[in-house]
């Protein structure tokens, strides 16, 4: 263990404190705003410490919603949390299941067209949804899947990241294990379920985090693929609340929903921090 001078160590902590403060300031101010009355937010300068409206604002945000989320039939953040959850879980599960199968196929079998499959998956990296947005909208609309979770999820259900990560991971599995399984008379699917899957816990955990965050944070696609507010996700609700034509945004409710929208993905990342970091960085080597 190296011991550096005290001065150096103090500087290090100071630097980290500054870094962490910068990271936290925007979140803190959003939290402060979410506990104020709307008029207080427009004071100049805005109060720098939390106000007294915490419970009122959050109850309103969760249950009633706010300006921009519709009047009598408005949806609260609870509905949007539910929708975001369905979207995020749907995307995560589809991507991981589909990628597990296909990378298993690519790595452990030889078949004509194997490299075509590989290249097809690679191509998806080059075609993010933003690039194919207009024709994709047309297609999903033709399939009558606008305003449905199927329509929201399917165009996003393929993941080159997941396929490549699994492929990479499968390649490192020693041949002896496969040999042993074959000698024991295990068929490929038996090998897949009882050996490969349990061994792949780390990359799966990593991908759960990555893809959940990806799905939770989707913006452009839900923005155009859903018009019915019963399918609105948190991101969509936020953008609708801020799209003000002839009215003012309800900043206090917007900020409460912003805080609510941060909690699930941040909690997931932090609770799975260890596996996540391990999966990300060790697969590099």
């Amino acid at each position: 263990m190296i011991t550096d001078p005290v001065r150096v160590r103090i500087v290090r902590h100071a630097a980290l404190v500054v870094g962490c403060t910068v990271v936290m300031v925007p979140i803190y101010m959003a939290f402060v705003a979410s506990t104020l009355e709307l008029a207080q937010i427009f004071e100049r300068p805005m109060p720098l410490f939390p106000g007294r409206q915490f419970i009122r604002n959050y109850v309103q945000a969760l249950v009633v919603g706010g300006r921009g989320l519709g009047g009598a039939r408005a949806i609260g953040a609870l509905t949007m949390v539910q929708n975001s959850m369905i979207l995020a879980v749907g995307i995560t599960v589809s991507k991981i299941v589909i990628s597990l199968f296909s990378s298993f196929g690519i790595v452990f079998f030889r078949f004509p067209g194997r490299s075509v499959v590989f290249w097809l998956v690679l191509v998806t990296l080059m075609l993010p949804v933003e690039v194919r947005i207009v024709p994709t909208y047309q297609l999903v609309s033709d399939l009558r899947l606008l305003n449905s979770f199927a329509g929201l999820i399917m165009p996003l259900a393929v993941s080159a990241t997941a396929t490549f990560l699994f492929r990479q991971y499968f390649m490192t599995i020693p041949d002896e294990i496969v040999e042993a399984a074959k000698v024991d008379g295990a068929g490929p699917m038996r090998f897949f379920t009882s050996i490969l899957l349990p061994m792949s816990r780390t990359p799966i955990a990593t991908l759960v985090v990555i893809q959940f965050v990806y799905g939770w944070n989707q913006y452009l696609w839900p923005l155009i693929a859903t018009t019915d507010r019963r399918f609105w996700t948190l991101m969509l609700g936020l953008s609708r609340m801020l799209a003000t034509a002839d009215h003012q945004a309800d900043w206090h409710i917007v900020m409460a929903i912003t805080i609510i929208a941060m909690i699930p993905p941040v909690a997931l990342v932090l609770s799975m921090q260890k596996q996540f970091v391990k999966g990300l960085t060790e697969s590099d080597k």
Partner: protein, 294 residues
């Protein structure tokens, strides 16, 4: 393509295994991309009633628009600014965090958390701080004689998008740098310390060179991030303005196609962007095959 030496011999099973992925790729990726290609050589009215083949006219129109060419430079400018700032800060923070021992966990947790924050939310958070009307930071800056107004000052708008994107992106870079540093053998660093090398020297002479694969990988990933994932930030903060100072290629595809209803021009831009991304991904893929994957 490389594969395993030991394999299973089934004939039909592998096709079944890859079928779900292949079908989805064909339906939701290849088909729409082909549609975009096709659309780029037609001129169509908004309602799709008339459709005229125009050859490369849409491309000519797009490429002769100085504002389109500018959006290419804006995109590259963003990519460089975001990659540069996030990588510098993340490298610094991870180098420091890597050296403070066990107590670093709290710091790490805080620094990592914006990874999970949506770009849109990052945009909202920073908009709220810098809004000339309600923003605390904008108000504070006025005390220093700076009239912050990202609605009309291009530099302010550009900086605000870079700040919001970088704030969100530092976490990702931090994770990879930290992971990279933790895999540097302690013995190497310790022997340098015994030779009398201070913390700075140890970092630049031993740790940093070993991180170069990570650095290259992050550079590419940050580029791709800025190309696509900054869309919500721009959409929320600046709408591409002022005077197109923050209109990236992706933002223009959305604005011209989905908002402006110029389907041919937008499709031509999509095709050009595909070319652009293919170049970047090709670069990355060579790297992937050199065994440094994400």
């Amino acid at each position: 393509m490389v594969g395993k030496r030991v394999i299973f011999g089934n004939r039909r099973l592998p096709y079944l295994l890859v079928a779900p992925e292949v079908v989805l790729v064909l339906v939701f990726f290849i088909f729409p991309a082909a549609q975009a290609l096709l659309q780029s050589v037609f001129r169509e009215d908004a309602f799709g009633a008339s459709r005229v083949f125009v050859g490369f006219e849409n491309f000519r129109r797009v490429l002769s628009d100085p504002r389109y060419v500018r959006s290419i430079w804006t995109t590259i400018g963003f990519a460089l600014a975001v990659a540069g700032s996030t990588m510098t800060i993340a490298l610094f923070l991870s180098a420091v965090a890597n050296n403070v021992g066990k107590r670093a966990t709290a710091y790490k947790t805080i620094i990592i958390s914006p990874y999970a924050v949506a770009p849109l939310v990052a945009g909202i958070l920073w908009f709220f701080l810098f809004s000339p009307a309600v923003g605390v930071v904008a108000y504070g800056l006025r005390g220093f004689g700076v009239q912050w107004n990202h609605a009309i000052v291009p530099l302010h708008a550009f900086s605000l998008v870079v700040i919001a994107a970088s704030w969100q992106r530092i976490a990702y870079n931090f994770l990879f740098y930290l992971g990279g540093m933790q895999s540097v053998p302690d013995s190497l660093v310790e022997s340098a310390a015994i030779d009398g090398a201070g913390p700075k020297l140890r970092f630049w002479q031993i740790v940093f060179p070993l991180l170069s694969p990570t650095t290259f990988f992050l550079l590419i990933m940050n580029f791709i991030y800025t190309f696509f994932e900054t869309f919500p930030i721009i959409h929320q903060l600046t709408q591409g303005g002022p005077s197109n100072a923050t209109a990236t290629m992706v933002f223009r595809i959305y604005r011209d196609g989905f908002r402006g209803l110029d389907f041919g021009g937008s499709a031509a831009q999509s095709v050009l962007l595909m070319g652009f991304v293919i170049a970047v991904v090709a670069l990355q893929f060579r790297f992937v095959e050199r065994k440094v994957v994400y």
